[in-house]
Amino acid sequence: MASINLRDVSVEFPIYQLGARSLKKMLISGGTRGNLARDAHDRVMVRALHDISFDIANGERLGLIGANGAGKTTLLKVLAGIYKPTQGRIHIAGHTTALINASVGLNQDATGRENIILRGLYMDIHPRQMRDRIEQVAEFTELGTYLDMPVRTYSSGMMVRLAFAVSTCIRPEILILDEWLAAGDAQFLAKAQRRMEEFVEHSSILVLASHSFELIEQWCRVAVYLKDGGIEAMGAVEDVVARYKEDVAGGD
């Protein structure tokens, strides 16, 4: 049974390249909406997330929305286990696959087929196991003969197809997707959604961050609206999206 639980999770990035002096300048100049702070050692800290708490149970599809810099990708990385929260607690049950960047693990000079194996490595799938699935993946991508060409000849949409097909070929219990998925065309998105529905039916969790309300409303049942690193609203996807639209329309 997959589940995600977060309690008062905060993530702060230390910025070492800036001296304490430049910190003063930045704090005075404002405009960064108070996400900067100073820690005990006088280091500049960027508070990317603060006091995030929520529980997601089996079979749920969660959408993350918010403006640029609201902390969506950081939260995805926390859920993926890449960043350990600097404060708070997190509990993730289930095998997680994160697709934060479509091109990660893709070797530009290797062919599509070679990259299927390589990307499998990063997803903790043994090459032997991956070889059995290569045809299934190839079929889903509809890339045909392109699969025998180096990946550098691919368009970004084609890379997305490849990455998505590999990532969903093992049906992880928790799938974490960043907004790059929108790079796919409408036909591919429809196909991806069918796979995703089938995938969520097998009691898994999907977390998707996107700027596209359409995509979020189509794919997700619940949503979290992030603002300046905190949760502004969460609940049923329609309500949260409506709230976000209101905020955007109303201005700051």
């Binding site: 350990k84 990660v104 090459p127 609940g235």
Partner: protein, 290 residues
């Protein structure tokens, strides 16, 4: 309410969809437990790090005809040239000096290559570390394994050296195996420690590469220990000499200095312990520093 009903209620609750904040979280694993898990999980993923290491080498020599054997060829030329000149300089017999410098340089390259690349253990894997959850130790195993592959390419000239210069081959040769094993363990703690520190302090890699360059001249790699009779005892205590000696001496058919094995084992234990403490404390910070 029957027991069955209670169960089904609980099941219904468990399957309840939506987003809330009601669940009770289990106790978090300690840093120590997480570090040990990382090291063990990384080690068992041999199929990841061996393949990544192999791919690193393939990428480094993409499009070249000789590939990694370029280094082998470079070594051959350097060893021949240095062997001819330095044998005269140190007034030693070329027949004993050339094999000495050959084995010395090969082992030194393994050690110095590992140390230099150790600094980039995590920074080179930046993309992966920031995008995919994977045990950090995988990167350290990868660095050591990559250098072992390079070493394997370089040692192909050793049999020729042994035959050409009639180097005695005896049971000492077996010592090469535990020697390389300990050097690999040594490389592992160096990779974890230097790799970790280098992500936080970006001045470390150039400092290390300078230190390694100086050590090449200070350590009996290309000059024989006997060339400095009055300092011989002190020089044998140089840990870098000990590290080279445990592999070089057996390749030359002689016993290592009596101090060499204890020094190497000591380095592995002490260095390994310090590196482990560092890893336990700062492992989770690496993703932030990078």
């Amino acid at each position: 309410m029957s027991i069955d009903q209670t169960f089904s209620d609980a099941a219904a609750q468990g399957a309840a969809r939506g987003i809330g904040t009601g669940a009770v979280l289990p106790v978090q694993a300690s840093r120590l437990a997480e570090a040990v898990t990382d090291l063990a999980a990384g080690f068992t993923r041999r199929w990841i790090w061996s393949r990544l290491a192999y791919q690193d080498i393939k990428l480094r020599y993409r499009g070249s005809v000789l590939g990694p054997f370029w280094v082998t060829l470079t070594n051959l030329i350097m060893i021949s040239a240095m062997g001819a000149i330095y044998a005269q300089l140190f007034h030693v017999d070329a027949e004993t000096y050339v094999p000495y410098i050959m084995m010395g340089i090969l082992v030194w390259q393994f050690i110095s290559g590992t140390i230099n690349e150790a600094c980039a253990t995590f920074t080179d894997a930046k993309d992966v570390i920031q995008q995919v959850p994977m045990p950090f130790s995988v990167q350290a195993y990868r660095v050591v394994y990559r250098n072992l592959i390079v070493f394997a390419h370089n040692v192909v000239i050793v049999p020729f050296g042994i035959i050409l210069f009639k180097v005695p081959v005896d049971w000492h040769l077996v010592e090469v195996i535990p020697g390389l094993f300990l050097l690999s363990l040594n490389g592992l703690w160096i990779s974890l420690l230097l790799g970790g520190i280098s992500t936080r302090f970006r001045d470390i890699p150039p400092i290390i590469s300078n230190v390694v360059q100086v050590l090449f001249f200070l350590t009996p790699v290309f000059w024989p220990l006997d060339a400095v009779q009055n300092l011989r005892k002190a020089l044998a205590l140089n840990p870098f000499f000990a590290w080279i000696d445990v592999v070089r001496a057996p390749l030359l058919g002689v016993a290592p200095e009596p101090t060499s094995w204890p020094i190497l084992i000591g380095c592995v234990l002490v260095g390994g312990f310090c590196s482990f403490l560092f890893f336990v404390r700062f492992r989770e910070r690496i993703a932030y520093w990078i």
